[in-house]
């Protein structure tokens, strides 16, 4: 069965030739500069994304879409946030944790996107409006798999 596989956390590791301080700063404060918005955004067009206080917010003109809420923020160490792009009012989102660990002269960045199996039956039965397809995939597809 694929059920188990589809509810496991997704884990990605990447080595970055930069200090944990720099890596953390670029990940959080400058997400709008590297996030592939042209392919992965809620709005279409000239859109932006940024950590604003404890929220991750995409903006296009006067439109805004909250992608997640920061749960932990340890400078040069880790950032953890809820993850529900395209579903601003989601009360049971999946979660993403990114850790920054010194690795030689650089940093090992580990991203874990989990919480797929935490979605309650009530939630899974709910009707949530998505702006388009990819946020569904990012935040919710596995709810269909059990």
């Amino acid at each position: 069965m694929t059920t188990m596989a589809t509810t496991e956390a997704i884990t990605k590791e990447i080595h970055v030739d930069a200090t944990p301080e720099t890596a953390f700063k670029v990940f959080t404060e400058r997400i709008g500069e590297w996030w592939p918005l042209e392919q992965f955004s809620v709005f279409q067009g000239d859109t932006t994304v940024a950590f604003e206080g404890d929220r991750i917010v995409e903006r296009l003109g006067d439109q805004e879409s909250v992608w997640g809420t920061v749960l932990a923020y340890e400078v040069a160490g880790r950032v953890r946030f809820t993850w529900h792009p395209g579903r601003p009012g989601d009360d049971e989102p999946t979660e993403v944790e990114v850790t920054f660990t010194a690795d030689g002269d650089g940093t090992l960045v580990t991203l874990v996107h989990g919480g797929w199996d935490q979605l309650s039956e009530e939630k899974r039965a709910g009707r949530v409006d998505y702006d388009n397809g990819w946020p569904l995939v990012l935040g919710r597809y596995a709810a269909l798999a059990s």
Binding site: F27, W34, L111, G133, L138
Partner: protein, 104 residues
């Protein structure tokens, strides 16, 4: 890629509702339509699109035609998600390393 068609299929909110109705097991068109504010022919049409996108399979059970979620289709979406994070992190790496070089 298959996921592109799946994503397109999932772009419609009603179609997502139809798919979510199948979460708890195989069902016939009438059963799905009875729980959604959508006509039976409309549900049939959505199921056809979901089937073409590889997200749903159908089988005949006596006189009834039952639809169910296709786990393989969902696995394809997971691959897509996996690739998404890979691409996002590669872009992040380039930005972080450029910043590090700038500082030196």
């Amino acid at each position: 890629m298959a996921y592109a068609q799946a994503l397109q299929a999932l772009g419609d909110p009603t179609r997502r509702s139809v798919l979510e109705e199948l979460r708890d097991g195989p069902q016939a068109v009438g059963e799905i339509a009875s729980r959604l504010p959508v006509s039976r022919p409309a549900v049939s049409q959505h199921l056809r699109v979901l089937k073409e996108a590889g997200l749903v399979t159908e089988r005949q059970d006596g006189t009834r035609r039952l639809y169910r979620v296709d786990p393989d289709g969902l696995a394809g979406l997971r691959e897509y998600l996996d690739g998404f994070w890979e691409e996002a992190l590669a872009s992040f790496k380039a930005a972080a390393e450029a910043e590090e070089r700038r500082k030196k």
